[in-house]
Symmetry: C2
Subunit: 495 residues, 2 copies
């Protein structure tokens, strides 16, 4: 075979100060040469000795680069003829090699699916990573027994041994499901078979799962308005049509919902402590809701998001207890009762749905990390969880009182009565006309970050602020109200 | 107000040996009386003294029960007239109170959504919880450094302090994404910006996410046939139409795929080590695939499921490196390189998709537990992960040799040449006519649990077995082949 002339390689620049070895630099340069169309199939590469000379490197270095190129299929050697380019991209399409070149003119939205665009448009707010004063939903991280938890995690690993490395049931660790069942019995008055409990990452994941398994795109879902944006988002993402339902002092207005959309397939409701307005769903309405769901074969998703922190009155029995194995699915999370980055929640489903949810979990994801489930089992079984809840209830009561007093002192005239029987937030009404979103935007630079009530609304309504009080000391909570009062005063004159 | 006659309560039976306090038993009995329609709104309850006498309990006990019933809204007291039933279910619909009574005649399938039924029907096999000999996909749990890992988790907690309790970015812990980027650079030859990495629970979750964000129901997806059932399932569950594509010694047959469905939207492919047949996707086909995807604006999902365990030849450069910020999404998991119950995987997306995937993660779930991410960061940064991979590569090479030798010795005539350049499984062909599913069913009672190749197929094809060799000692792997050979001989005569 006659020796064809070899291609001129004069564009390789080596960086001798780089931590990337020289042979990798040569490999990359030649690879990119092929991918960009500069080198094409059949072209002969310089002999290693020659290229080594040109690049002022050792021959070993070039040999190493050629080996890598051969392994990846870019070049091949013919005996006695040296190395040739073996494969190059289809002629029309040399590869772009930087993000800058990559299809810059295509709009991102065009490249998503229709449901992808729906999911993206359901995103309710930019991520808020650093909680500021009054951020909603953050528990008392300062009071969490981190050392105790660390010891427990270590113990779970030591006791779990090799079996803790393997997968467990898709439902979650049996031991944890049993501990959750015991906890539900003792603290929430529920009698639940552990076989009906699913350990999940988050309430969002539970809602996404329920929306997909129980409802089709276009199906209607009743949802509290104002309500929890974090619940609204996965329902929207699943393509459901949200039917906003008024809430009043008895909670979710079932009759209004029935009038608006009698054929709804799913209901999302926070019976113990309506988020964010704070009402408890009355027994009459609970029974009305269950009656409707039984007649229409609809599903009720009960989110008991802060059922463990009731400050006034007796604990409220979850709706699930009224229809223990019928139409109610019950979800709760450990994000607030323990800590958010734990990422553990659970869902109780009726017996008739267990098999379907097992399949869905196997197909779509699987269970949360086993070691964390084992550690939480210990925490629950040992009584440490109950003790932690008692300490937290006392702490939240104190924080709540401090905030309530400060609101009364500094803001009594500008805000409507703020009621919070439970949980770790207050919702306060503002004088009509105040733009709560604009107010929040002005508060953020001051280090205050409550949520605008309008964010929780689907339909327009009176303005307000939702103030989280879980994560800050009584002093900090009270202190912030002065700045809050000042900004509110600036934005509008109270009547 | 005249005193109405009080209702007769003669059906309450107390269990004095129960751990449930007597007042809770009375509460439950009366509550169930209301819910079942035995007691209706307006009926007067016996005076506490009277009921205490009838039930032979103290009056305090009855008072406590009435208090609970009042708190839950079942009864109310009128001054001077005692307690009345305050709320009862709508007349037509007393509540059922056991799973037995609960809508027993409804078929479960009817109560799921259409997509719920689709998700359920995508479930590929019953959960296999206890790995038996040859179960595919289980790494060497016996060799995992559990003590080292436990210490590391403890250190992550101590170093992380209070911030480790709070949520991190939806993408995952920045520190872990940086460590993954460094790892990808060092071990897989990829140069990836950590901003494009998403930490997820599992490969399944990644596929589900990609299917939803990038494709709509009815869209076509190219998928290797035979291929990975765990990937097929979430694609089916997302409503996509699977286009089975032949694989040969060069991997995925791109030309055949283009002929079958040129308008596909998504491709799922295992380029480094086709699952389960073991081929490496040739450079020419990689370039062909990328070229097609660029021209049609389709997405390529590259699953590098065992790229870290190459036994022969040089490591194969991931396809992502050929189109680093274009059409390729790259997914890999720590389930096999560390341990399955860790539940951590990651997805690299092109820059153009980062924002959409952030939104999707925020809306649909959020990040995996932060502490586990911190521990894995340490494991990666400290070089322990690289050392672990080296140890595992040596162990798998040994296990693989042992199995290969035993197969050659006992089964050379019955099975086709078994090639596995990488990973922790062999796929062996069986004499045509042997029913591989039936064979597996006969092996399970013997303690052997390989997968039937037919389970990996969409269209019918020659039978085979997939034998996992990761989790067992060389001796156990060799020993099992005798039983395997015996059963294969029983099922069909080799030619």
């Amino acid at each position: 075979m006659p020796r064809t002339a070899c291609v001129l390689i004069d564009w390789v620049t080596l960086d001798r100060g780089s931590i990337e070895p020289l042979h990798r630099q040569i490999y990359r340069a030649l690879r990119d040469g092929v991918l960009s169309g500069r080198l094409v199939t059949g072209q002969r590469l310089p002999a290693t000795r020659r290229l080594a000379h040109d690049l002022e490197v050792s021959r070993i270095t070039v040999l190493a680069a050629y080996d890598l190129l051969t392994a990846d299929g870019f070049i091949a050697s013919r005996s006695g003829s040296g190395a040739f380019v073996a494969t190059s991209p289809p002629q029309a399409s040399p590869m772009p090699h930087s993000a800058m070149q990559s299809a810059p003119s295509k709009s991102v939205a065009k490249r998503l699916s229709a449901r992808g665009r729906m999911i993206v448009s359901a995103a309710y707010e930019p991520e808020r990573l650093e909680p500021k004063l009054y951020t909603v939903g953050v528990p008392a991280l300062d009071l969490f027994p981190r050392e105790e938890w660390t010891r427990l995690v270590g113990r779970a690993w030591r006791r779990g041994g090799q079996p803790l490395l393997a997968l467990v049931e898709a439902k979650g660790l049996l031991r944890l499901r049993q501990a959750i069942a015991a906890h539900l019995g003792a603290l929430r008055g529920l009698s639940v078979d552990p076989a009906r409990i699913f350990v999940l990452n988050s309430t969002r994941q539970a809602i996404d799962l329920c929306a997909r398994v129980l409802a089709d795109p276009g199906d209607r879902v009743w949802i509290e308005d104002p309500g929890f944006v974090g619940a609204r988002a996965p329902l929207l993402a699943a393509g459901l049509e949200l039917i906003p339902v008024d809430v009043d002092e008895d909670g979710f207005n079932v009759a209004a919902a029935q009038a608006a959309a009698p054929e709804a397939r799913l209901v999302y409701v926070t019976p113990a402590h309506q988020y964010p307005m704070g009402a408890t769903l009355s027994l009459a309405r609970r029974l009305q809701l269950i009656d409707w769901a039984r007649r229409t074969d609809a599903w009720l998703l009960e989110d008991d998001y802060d059922g463990e922190f009731r400050h006034e009155g007796a604990p409220v029995l979850p709706m699930q207890a009224l229809d223990p194995d019928g139409q109610v699915l019950y979800v709760a999370s450990f994000a607030k009762s323990l800590f958010p980055s734990l990422r553990l929640a659970f869902l109780v489903v009726p017996s008739s749905l267990v098999q379907a949810f097992v399949s869905a979990r196997v197909v779509l994801d699987g269970h949360p990390p086993a070691a964390i489930q084992a550690a939480l089992s210990e925490f629950l079984e040992s009584g440490r969880y109950a003790a932690h809840l008692r300490r937290m209830r006392a702490a939240y009561a104190e924080r709540r009182s401090s905030l309530a007093l400060a609101l009364k002192t500094h803001l009594a005239e500008a805000v409507a009565a703020a009621g919070s029987l439970a949980g770790m937030h207050f919702t306060v009404g503002l004088t009509p006309g105040i733009d709560d979103r604009a107010l929040v935007a002005r508060l953020v630079p001051l280090g205050l970050s409550p949520s605008a009530l309008s964010e929780s609304r689907i339909r327009p309504g009176p303005p307000g602020l939702i103030l989280g009080f879980g994560a800050w000391t009584p002093e900090a909570l009270a202190h912030g109200v002065e700045a809050l009062a000042l900004e509110i005063a600036r934005m509008g004159q109270p009547n």
